[in-house]
Subunit: 393 residues, 2 copies
């Protein structure tokens, strides 16, 4: 037996989401999410599917017909990329500069690919010249890279790495979980063969779906596989038959999440990609200016930084958990902790999608300053002035 009266209404309060995702979800997206559920073969739902695909192609800057939201979070998107394109014994060169490159390596090992792992320092970009050398030595079937390392805030160059993939005729697979919607990805122009993302970062939709796009060359590889995809659930051959004109039932689509994604994509289309990227850039620079004015230092060198995820070093003698708890308790602000070797050493401050606002930058700088000051750390004043200088420039 169970006493149902002991469970209260869901009421998460008013968080300000400035961690590594999820980001703040606009009211319009939450309203779409709560529209009545209908069937996955309902004619109205099929229309929404087509529209969602069109909006996703715009978001990815991809003209690839195979562009869909996979029914799982960003990590399911990562798994989708590898299980569909890697056959046992295929050689996969994975560039690792943080948690998510490490995860890619783990997946390649699990599914029986031949992993060539190339490590870079955490907090730095992947160096295309080092990748080029390794690629020419090893001649991989697939080159895999994380565009935006969420664990460190480092950005790698899709343009340069794409050239390396072309030089060795490898499929080019890119993790865009954190970058998509917040900075240019140019999938078609960069000749990317497989890319995936998550809904809860710069798209500002709740977590639960993973936008995926596959180039015609990737689809050809998929269709000419010798062994079936090891995952039934993520078999893009079958899932694709539901999203294309065939409408062949595979699994029940997450209907309401798809309502929400479509609305989030519509909001993005209304803003326009250029304006959106400029907004992410501006708020990033203002935040960094404020943090540096306080005497804090960024983990990632200036030219390698992401605009939507800012890893800042925790000052010596400052207690990580105490600061994050105060931010959450006194200001309702969530930021991210460091992962892996960076645990206790950095904070990860997200300015993603709807969370990338001047309001949030000002709020966060004020809150952090106040907390650090009250803890007796040697924090300097002038953060707001430094941030405003960026906004006014």
């Amino acid at each position: 037996m169970i006493d149902p009266m002991k469970f209260r209404d869901v009421d998460p309060g008013f968080r300000v989401l400035m961690g590594p995702g999820p980001s703040d979800v606009p009211t319009r997206v939450l309203q779409a999410l709560s529209a009545p559920c209908i069937g996955h073969l309902d004619p109205y739902f099929l229309e929404l599917m087509d529209e969602t695909q069109e909006l996703l192609r715009y978001l990815f800057a991809a003209d690839y017909p195979f562009t869909i939201p996979v029914s799982g979070t960003g990590s399911a998107g990562m798994e989708t990329g590898f299980v569909n394109l890697v056959e046992p014994e295929d050689k996969v060169l994975v560039c690792v500069n943080g948690v998510f490159g490490t995860r890619m390596s783990d997946i390649v090992n699990r599914i029986g690919g031949r992993l060539v792992r190339l490590d870079f320092p955490w907090g730095r970009s992947v160096d295309p010249e080092v990748v080029r050398k390794k690629a020419k030595e090893t001649n991989p079937d697939i080159l895999a890279v994380v565009h935006a390392e969420t664990s460190t805030g480092a950005c790698s160059s899709l343009d340069e790495l794409s050239h390396v993939a072309q030089e060795v005729d490898a499929l080019f697979l890119v993790d865009m979980v954190t970058s998509l919607g917040g900075m240019p990805v140019n999938v078609t122009d960069n000749r990317i063969d497989a890319a995936y993302s998550g809904t809860q970062k710069c798209i500002s939709c709740p977590p639960g779906l993973s936008p995926v796009t596959l180039s015609p060359r990737a689809v050809e590889k998929l269709n000419s596989r010798k062994v079936p995809v090891v995952s039934w659930y993520l078999d893009m051959g079958m899932v694709g038959s539901y999203w294309d004109k065939e409408r062949k039932y595979h699994h029940t689509a997450p209907i309401n999440m798809l309502y929400a994604l479509r609305e989030a994509l519509r909001i993005i289309a209304e803003e326009g990609m250029e304006a959106r990227f400029a907004r992410h850039d501006k708020n990033h620079h203002a935040l960094v200016a404020g943090l540096e004015a306080m005497g804090l230092s960024m983990l990632v060198p200036e030219k390698e930084r992401l605009p939507m995820l800012n890893a800042v070093r925790i000052p010596d003698g400052v207690n990580d958990i105490q600061v994050r708890s105060a931010l959450l308790k006194d200001y309702n602000i969530e930021i991210g902790a460091g992962l892996g070797d960076l645990a206790g050493k950095v904070w990860r401050i997200g300015l993603m999608g709807a969370s990338s606002t001047r309001r949030n930058v000002v709020l966060f700088l004020g809150a952090l300053y106040t907390i650090l000051k009250s803890m007796g750390s040697g924090v300097k004043s002038g953060a707001l002035e430094a941030a405003n200088e960026i906004y006014d420039s």
Copy 2:
């Protein structure tokens, strides 16, 4: 470029969901779904996770600590069961009496298990005596069965099949996608080692999550695997470390879907399992009485029928698509088509969760009678009277 003005607000209208799922979602569940998104490590969210686990154990009638919602639809739950418990070369006896048993076989093949496939007629239960004989011949490591075959409406006996599993010391894996929440499953009492379901059937939450429960014996098997689980995303060892006290980040949980599931489970707890099962039973019998009064015949023999999914034969000379289109267009009612060999031969009428109501039974019988009559089929009158007799008994 894209013109955002061409996309309209999401507005799915007023469907009555009487297909094989999704079922009608209560307003309270939709409201919970649209609460503001928060972080997957937020203290408030961690509380909701614990509560959700407690409510899921009640729903499964399972006292197993490992009881969680997996971040994918019911099919992801199926994949979860097999990829975690089957190691390459493990022998898996799969009972097949419809689409979902067939899918189980497909998954076992993909992941390199040794499949022993045992087929039964579609529209009938799995015969425990036949399973017993095969199990004793083949001595499988795992016995897998679909409790409620959504493709046909046939129910198999968990009690009897559980005994077979025990006799050959096999792990007992059960698909409860359609049955959970609508009829007894008694996971602990039936000594079931792995069970999974979907949220969009008798739980009446939108699709997107899959409740999963694993017995201590199943967890032991998982922990003593020689090779890693082939799926990183569905690796229950790692996912379990997020749901237990460790709270170790694995992937970003589908926050809002979990709000909705918790609310749907709270509604179930308020109704109570016995009352809920009795409601499903009563509406099922009333529907069948009405259909039979019209002269239609059920696919599944009386004692083998599910209460929540009713497959009825399409009368000779009646056009399947024409009837379903009229139901959708004129009455906003969705029912399901036949799958596989049953395409064009049966309709699948769901009375699941919030959709299992006297209102829906009366509406559907009236609508179907009117449509069949207008098509000049030899449909008989008296459906409503026959249904009412059940309600009044």
